[in-house]
Structures are given as C-alpha cells and as structure tokens.
Amino acid sequence: MTDIRRSLLRRDALSAAKEVLYHLDIHFSNQLQNTAAPVVDNGSVELVEEFVFNLPKDRSMQRKKMTSLQELQLLEITCSYFQEQGKDSLRQIIFAALFSPQSNMADDRRMAMLGKLVSMAVAVCRVPVLECAASWLQRSPASHCMRLAKVLVDDYCNSAPSPACALRDIVTVSPRFCCQFITAVTAVYDLSSDDLIPSSDLLEMVVTWVHDNPRLTLLTFLSAPMPSSRPPGALESTPLLGLVRWCVKSPLAYKRHRKPLLAPCPGAALALGPAEGGQAPGSLYSMLHLSVLQILVSLRADLTEHHLYGRVGVLPLEHVAKLVGELAVLVDQLNPGDAAAESELSLNRLAQALQVAMAAGALLCSREDLRCLCSRLPYNSLLQLVKSGPFLQPPHPEFQQESYPPIHVSTARS
C-alpha cells in the first residue's frame, strides 16, 4: 500500500486520482473473486481521501490542489468509469469506497464531489451512477442523503428559469433512484418553516412521478422490506410518510407562509394528465394525497404476499406521532378563526391517511393508540370517526376485497 502511495505522491493531482480509481478497480476485482461481499478497507478509504479528495495525510506534504478544470475532468473520468464498468457489484463497492461517509474531515469534500457527480449523471443520463447513488441513499445516514437531495433540487428545481427536464425524465431510467430521492427530498422539505416548503417545480415533478407510477414509491421497501436490513439513521424505507406530511401539513403551512394555495379548479379532473404544466399547488397536493391513499391500499396485497402483514409498520408509529405533533403545533400557530378551512382540510387528510394506512396494515396501532395520539388535535368529524372506528358489522360472507385478478394488480392509478 505504501508503495502505491509513494508512487501516487509523485504524480500530479488528476493523474493520482485516476490512478486511485484504477487501483481500486483491480483491488476490488480481486476481492470479489474471493468473497461475495467484500468490505471497504481503511487503506482504500485513506487512498481515496488523500488522492481523490486531496486531504494530505501529513500536513508537511503540501500537495497542489486540483484546478476546477481538473476537477471536472476527474468527474468525467469517474462518471465514465461507472458507465463502462459492466459489473454491478464492483461498481457498488467502488462507489461505496469513494462516497460512503466516514464521519471525518473528508466528508465535506466527499459530499461535494458526490453531489457534482450525481448531478452530472442526471444531466447526461448515466444510469449506473444513478443506480449506485440509489444504493448509497439506502445505506447512508439520512442527513447525508438530505444533503445530496438538496444539491439536486438546487441544481434542477430552483435555479433554472424553466424546470429542467433531465431530472424529471430519469424516472423512466432509474425509478429506484427516484424513489430514494423522493424520500430524501420529503425529509428535507418538511414544511417546518417557510424555507422548507417545496418549490412548485419540485412539487409538480414529484406529484407527476407518483401519480404516473405509484408503485415507484414502494421500490426500495419491496427490495428490502425488513427494517433490520437498513442501517440505523438511514432514510425511511418509503417516501410515504414524507408525502403524507406534505399533504397533511401543506394547507396550514401555505397559510402560515401566506402563499396562495389556490383551491383545485373545477374541471381539473378532465385535464388530469402527466406533467400538467402550471397546476395550482392545491390541486397537486390533492392529487398527491389520493395517490398516497391508493398506494397504501395496494400495499396491503404486497404485505400479505410477503407475509409481512401486521409485522412491519411501513409508516412507523413514532414518525406518525411526530407528524401529528407537528400538525398540532401548526394548528396552534394559526388563528383558528382564520384558518378553519385549511385546518379542516389538513385534519381530513390526516384522518384519511391514518385510516387507510391502518386498514392496509401500513400503520400498526390500535384505535386506542390512535385516540391517544390525536388527543391534542382539534375536533374533526372524520377524525372522530376514524378514532372510534367503524361500527361493527357482521362480516360479508361472500366478500372478496382485494382479491383482484393479476391483470389488475399493477394498476392502482386514478
């Protein structure tokens, strides 16, 4: 290892970085021949940090920094490397070696480069990079994921005068990445402050994705449904709770922000189509809320199929409790006389989401828990109904809810 380091030290920054990539490729290829799941060793990480992220190991050796052009070249080389490396497992481990957060000084540079790399991959549609990024988003701590999401949102949804199509369109090539991206982005934009209200471009993109392909939101969850398979502190397994948060909090958050939410326009249903330009956020949230409910409904069959019904809370109870708490704060912040309609809408959506999630087995709690959970919220007739639960009826003997024939399973669209 020291030999490599010595030889690298003699090179200029760019060629050293390139050489590290080359070295990693050979190193992990060998590893993969011996073991199915190699781990990223410290030596590799150190090489990466020293020669790719330019953090000298000893202060005395001041190395020349890469120029912006060299940096761009390095990005291009890296991007091409992932594009051309045909072996997925190798790509994954090298991506991890490069970008797995190490909780050290290098993380800032690491994240900066990752942001640029993924942004570039989006721009030129480099699917392997996006797929690696999707895995990265699954494994990395939520805060890092949120940082990456923020970079992309800044690059694609806020800056450009017109919404860039590049990000919108990657849903067709890397839905797995989009799933994680939505989870991250809803974690960032939690409507807790006016700054954290999603921009209309971002909102519209997410709503379009979810509306057009509701199953998108379950990709990560279905690939690894058990909570134990996720490292602690990682993002949630689905963006569903984040989306519920958007729908539930948006009426009050917009009200607080004095941002016009605009009621859904009559006849909008007729114009309902993908990427309907310039729709009022109110309509978008309404569409999104319906999509979320439909996803929750369809989730029941998935849970049953994977023998997870009643075992996995897709909407974890503590997160739901947090959301209810946030909503209660929001309600308190606004003058009840002023925001009665918004409050009503928020509570209706919350009640609907809770009820459907419970019925689908996505939220594991009893009516009793629910009553306790929602005790701080103001009265709402639907919420009341949901809290107390349906009147018990004799079970319908022939009832075959959810036993659709296969051709219908995939279509849970409006």
């Binding site: 009621a263 859904p264 009559p266 909008a268 249903a269 007729l270 309509s283 309404s286 569409m287 809320h289 319906l290 409910l293 439909q294 409904v297 209706n348 959506r349 009640a351 609907q352 009820q355 459907v356 419970m358 019925a359 689908a360 007739s381 639907l382 109904l385 949901v386 639960g389 349906p390 009147f391 009826q393 079970p395 319908h396 022939e398 009832f399 075959q400 809810q401 036993s403 659709y404 024939p405 051709i407 219908h408 279509t411 669209r413 409006s414």
Partner: protein, 732 residues
C-alpha cells in the same frame, strides 16, 4: 351515528367535492371503503365517478369489484344492462365506445359470467339471443354448450311468434350470426339431418332476403311517363330495408348468395359430400351435380340417399340462384335489392320477325308441334308434352347489355330444373323443399317457370302457368295500371303469344287486342319510329324462335300488330276468298312498311285474281301512299278494272273516336250517301248505280292521300280498338 349514518355521511362528503376536487372526493371514498368495505353505496359512488369521467380501467376494476361482491344489487344490474346493450348496438358515440371499452377491461371469466347472467335476466327472446351471441362470439369454447340450443330457440321463436316470412329477425340472427359459429366450431358434433335442416333454413332466408320485394313504405313516384305499360322504375326509390325488430345496420346482409355458398361449402365438408372440392361458383356446382347424377343409379342404401340429398340441396340452390338472376334481368322491379337504373320488364314471346315473308307463318312459329293441331284435344295434349330444346332467344343487345349473362342464367336455371326432375326420387325431395318454403307463392319463381315452360314449347302448360301468374297480382282496386296492371299486361301478351303458338288464333287475337287497348300509341314521334325496335332485330337471322322484348308500348305495339298479321295472313291467303281477312292484312302491312311490300303485292295479286275486293274499312285505316296508289291503279283499265268496294260504313263513322277523322268521314258520308240508310248504301255503292260514285271514290282517294302524314301507329291503334269485335269474329 350508525354504520348506515357513517356511510351516508362519507358518500355525501364525496359528492360535495366531486366537481371541484375529484381527487379529494375519491380520497374520501377510499377512506370510506376501508371503514365500511361491505357497503355497496360507497363502491357504487366510486364507480359512478370513474364512469362519469369515462376512465375505462378504473371504472372496469370497480365494476368488477361490485360484480363479485354485490352480485345481487339492482344498480349493478342496471349497469350491466347498459353495457351489454352498448355491446349489442352499433352505436358509435363516445359513451357507447367507452362502455364497450369498459367491458373489455374485465377479465374474460367475468365477461363470460356477466353475459350469461345478463342473458338469464332477459325475457325478450331477441335480446336474449343477441346477448348469448355476444358470449358465443367472445368465447368460442361456449359454442359447443350453447350454440345449438340458441339456434333452436331462435327457430322456435319464429314459430311461436307466427312469422310467415323467413326474412325475420330471428332467422336473420340464426342464419347470419349463430349458424356460422355452430358449423365452424371444430369441437361441435352435428348430426347430418340437423346440418341439412340448418342448410335449408339458411337457403330459405337468403333467397327470401335477396328476392324481397320493394318495401311498402318506399316512396312511390307519383307520375309516370306517357308510356302505355307503366315503367315500375318509380317503385325503387329507396334502398333502405329494415327487418322488423332489428336496426337498419343489422338488417343488412351483404353478398347473400356468397354467404349461402360459404355455408354450403362448410355443410358439404361436414356431411362429407361426394366429390366436394369446395368449388366456389353455382355453375360449377351444377356441373358437379350432373356428374354425380350419372352415378346415382349405381348407388344404393345410405350412400344413395346421401347422394340424393346432396344433389337436391345443391341443385336447388343453383336453380334458385340462376332463376333469380334471370328474373332480376327480366323483371328488375320485383326486387328491392336489385339496382339496375329504372329498368323495365322484359317479356319472352314468340319471334314473329319473319311474318312479312311470303311463306306460311307456320314455318317459324309452329314447326315443332303445330302439324297436328287439328287433332282432338287428347291427342293434342300428348303432342305438347314433347319438349323443345335448343331454341334461340333473340334480344336487343343494345337495350340489354347483360344479355349474355341473362341467357346463361336462364339456361343454368333450366338445366338445374331438368336435373331435379330427372329422377323421381330427386323430384320428390325437391318438391318437399318447395312445399316447406311455399315456393308456389313466389311470384318471381312463377315468372321464371312460365318462361321456362314457354321455352320448352309446352304452351298448354304455359297457359295455365300464366293464369296462375295472373292470380298473384290481383291489382288492388284503383291501382290498375300501376305495377299490378303492368304484370297483368305482361301475362296477357304472353297468353296471346302462347295461344298463337298453339294455333289458337282467335284467342291470341283476343288477348292481343286487350293488350292494345291498354297501350297508348306513341304520338310524340313520327310514324316511322316503330322501325327503331324491330329493324335491328329482324336482321338477327332466321330460324329463331323466341324473343325477349322490353315491356314498353314502343316494343309491344309492333309485336301485337305482327301477331295479328300472322293470324290473318293465314286466312287471307287460303284458297277460299276472305276479303275481310285480306283487308285486315293490308291494313296491318302498313306497319313497318316497306317490310311487308312483298306480301302486299301478293295480296294485290289475289285481288286481281278475284276481280273484286270489298273492305269497307279501307279508307278509315289505309293511309299508305304506295297502297293507295296501287288501289287507285287497280280501278283503272290498265290495272284490270277491279271492282273495289272500299267505302266506310256509317256505324264505323259514328264510333270514330277522333273528331278529325269523324269530320273527314262525315264529309265522305255527306258526299257519297246523303240520307241513305246503312243497309241500302252498301248495296247502292257496290252496284255503282248512284251517279258520281266514281267521282266520290276519286275524291275519297284524294282526301286519303292528304292523310298520309297522320301518325300510323295512332291509326293502327284506332283500328285495333274500333274493329276489335270484327277482328276477333273474323278468325275461326
């Protein structure tokens, strides 16, 4: 609140939102359904939203849910009824298409169940059948189970509803829709007898369909042109045709004869017919049946009866097909389906083009059977049984461009008929089919049969056939002269032609005069117009027997005159003197002059030989300048000083319908016979006692010359009408 109250509350909220925020409305309903999954109204509301927005996939899925979970709900049945109605209808509007698309999204098993259940709920046989048909079409495997029973239901319905026409909605459905499914289903086992039954049902329908008359409600053209025999072109104004109980579109059967051939081919294959190679034309089939017939005597038992049924079924179809083609050429107005533009009818008659020849007319019209016509009736009859073959039929090629096809069809039809009557067993089986189809009530077939019998020279039989034909068309009172009248005239002319062929000249003349009475002579064109039609045809060669004439005054009038000439020619030139007949011949010879010049000269010779000639109608009806000249010459010394008594009688003058002629005759009368009574006058004139008779004759001649420009056909028409009684009486 109760569960019921909760549900009502939830549905109400959704309804309030549906126009402004349909997504929210659906969110409410989704929530509601998780709370009360067994509540029908919630799901129905969900379905209604999707249906109203015409979202096919989601509406289909919700309908499926309701169909599975709430099969007893009337609302579900209302929906299914609406959808199945859209499936049956040919409506192309957006909603109907949506409903059909909705049905398509359902899983096949559910479609099948839905149709079957919907069928069960149908009480109307037709609707039920249409519904079941949807099922059979979609799910071919269900044909084995339901096909035959559906077919039988439809055939039973015909009987139950007491429908006398085979062209009815049930039969249409059976023949055009159900039958092809049944006979094309590979797994279907069908007994041969059933196949024959179905084949015959199909044939009866298709023939009935194709030969259907113009619909009663099609607009009648008010006025007809000044043609004596009315052209029925006006009857064919509209081609719209609707079978009672069906829509206009489903009443339409395209290429009926081809469809029939298709069914024949499949039935043939299923019955394992002899030598059946699936030939595709009726003519080919006839050839094959002829060949097969040759082997019939060598067959026995089941093979024989199989073969016989095959021959009869196939040949019967060929017969009706070609007879239809023939009749549609000869009488296009009979059929609604036929679309030749305003084509009038044609009549098959004896060819009289050689009537102007000096030879005896028997040569042309009676060479086959007339030699013994004076024998007793019994003997005569046996003579008529003898068929005539290989006769020629003349037809104006210019007026009927498709003449060759028409004659081919006529021949094919005759050959089919002959084949069906070549063995007693075949005839019996054929007659059985005819009896069940009530073919004796088919006017068009009777027309063909009559023509066929005429062609065969069985004139006695033809006469009875013509009388039968007359019984078809009892013209409703007040409708005389329209198509019924036309048919009547047609039959009369053919009767005359047959009587003439039988040597019954008096009857022939009687009928012809009756026809002429119904004609309006062509006044618009000069007298020579009559040439147009016959000229081209008389050149068509000799030794021909029959002629197809268009049924118009223009063509019929010359025929009538020729026929009378032929009758009188026989009497006029016998050894015994018959001035009246000779006079009639001279009058008639004017027509188509100078065709009859030779014959006229022969008449003049006879008059010269007699030395005298008496024909009181001469000045009424002879306007031909050549003839007048000849007669003027006869009176002179050079001409032989023939005694001519040609002055008209008074009775005739009084009868004269034409004021112009009346005036002329009146002058004659005043000039020649002031105050003399009819009986004496005759005497006086012939004796030449009255002075000035010679002068009067000269004057009469001069006046007659001035009449030369008169329309000859008008004159001859008047002759036929005014002299009807004399004309008939002067024949034996």
């Amino acid at each position: 609140m109760s569960a019921q109250g909760d549900c009502e509350f939830l549905v109400k909220r959704a309804r309030e939102l549906v126009t402004d925020d349909p997504w929210a409305a659906k969110a409410w309903l989704i929530t509601a359904r998780t709370l009360y999954p067994a509540d029908f109204n919630i799901q129905y509301e969900m379905y209604t939203i999707e249906r109203n927005a015409e979202r096919t996939a989601s509406a289909g899925r919700l309908l499926y849910d309701m169909f599975v979970n709430f099969p007893e709900q009337p609302a579900v049945w209302r929906e299914i009824t609406v959808i199945t109605a859209a499936l049956r209808s040919d409506c192309q509007d957006k909603h109907a298409q949506f409903l059909r698309g909705l049905f398509e999204t359902l899983p096949g098993r559910v479609q099948c169940e839905m149709l079957l259940k919907a069928t069960e709920q149908c009480f109307n046989t037709l609707e039920k059948a249409e519904m079941l048909l949807l099922l059979l079409r979609r799910f071919p495997e269900s044909v084995v189970q339901h096909g035959v029973s559906l077919g039988e239901t439809l055939l039973d319905a015909e009987t139950l509803e007491d429908l006398d026409s085979p062209v009815n909605c049930f039969r249409k459905l059976f023949v055009c829709d159900v039958l092809p499914l049944i006979i094309n289903a590979p797994d279907m086992r069908l007994p041969v007898s059933l196949l024959y039954k179905y084949m015959h049902k199909a044939a009866e329908f298709y023939i009935g369909y194709v030969t259907r008359g113009p619909t009663a409600d099609s607009p009648l053209q008010g006025t007809q042109e000044g043609v004596g025999l009315k052209s029925p072109g006006g009857l064919r104004g509209s081609q719209r045709y609707v079978i009672d109980g069906l829509t206009e579109k489903s009443s339409l059967v395209t290429e009926p004869w081809e469809r029939l051939l298709d069914i024949l081919a499949i039935v043939g294959a299923r019955c394992e017919w002899q030598g059946d190679k699936g030939s595709r034309s009726y003519v080919e089939i006839l050839q094959r049946m002829k060949e097969l017939c040759r082997y019939l005597p060598s067959l026995e038992g089941e093979t024989l009866s199989c073969c016989r049924s095959q021959v009869v079924t196939c040949t019967t179809l060929v017969l009706f097909h070609s007879a239809y083609l023939y009749v549609s050429a000869v009488q296009p107005a009979l059929f609604q389906a036929h679309s030749s533009p305003a084509a009038g009818p044609w009549i098959l008659l004896e060819d009289l083009s050689s009537v102007f020849s000096e030879a005896q007319p028997e040569r042309s019209s009676s060479k086959h059977a007339h030699k013994k016509r004076k024998l007793g009736d019994g003997r005569e009859k046996t003579m008529w049984e003898g068929r005539v073959v290989g006769r020629h039929i003349l037809v104006s090629k210019a007026e009927m461009p498709a003449w060759a096809d028409m004659l081919d069809s006529f021949r094919t039809a005759r050959e089919s008929w002959d084949l069906l009557h070549s063995h007693e067993a075949l005839e019996t089986e054929f007659n059985r089919i005819c009896a069940s189809w009530k073919t004796e009530s088919w006017l068009w077939l009777r027309i063909f049969l009559t023509d066929m019998i005429i062609y065969q020279g069985q004139y006695r039989k033809a006469l009875s056939s013509l009388h039968q034909l007359a019984s078809f068309q009892l013209p409703p009172p007040g409708q005389m002269g329209s198509s019924g009248g036309l048919e009547h005239q047609r039959a009369l002319i053919q009767l005359a032609s047959c009587h003439y062929a039988l040597g019954e000249h008096r009857l022939a003349c009687e009928k012809v005069l009756e026809v002429v009475g119904g004609l309006v002579p062509q006044t618009t064109s000069p007298s020579k117009t009559s040439e147009d039609v016959p000229r081209t045809r008389t050149k068509l060669g000799k030794g021909t027997d029959l002629r197809l004439l268009p049924c118009t005054s223009k063509a019929i009038m010359p025929f009538c005159l020729q026929l009378m000439l032929a009758c009188f020619k026989l009497r006029a030139f016998t050894e015994t003197r018959d001035d009246l007949a000779l006079g009639h011949v001279i009058v008639l010879l004017q027509h188509d002059w100078p065709q009859g010049e030779a014959l006229f000269l022969k008449a003049v010779d006879k008059i010269c030989q007699q030395g005298s000639f008496q024909y009181e109608n001469f000045f009424n009806y002879v306007t031909n300048i050549d003839m007048l000249e000849e007669f003027a010459y006869l009176r002179t010394t050079e001409g032989g000083k023939v005694q001519l008594e040609l002055l008209p009688n008074q009775g005739m003058l009084i009868k004269s319908p034409s004021p112009a002629l009346g005036l002329v005759s009146q002058e004659f009368n005043n000039l020649l016979l002031p105050g003399v009574q009819t009986t004496d006058r005759h005497h006086t004139v012939t004796r030449g006692i009255t002075k000035g008779v010679k002068e009067d004759f000269r004057l009469a001649m001069e006046r007659q010359v001035s009449r030369c420009g008169e329309n000859l056909l008008t004159v001859l028409h008047r002759f036929c009408i005014n002299e009807k009684i004399i004309l008939v009486q002067s024949l034996p």
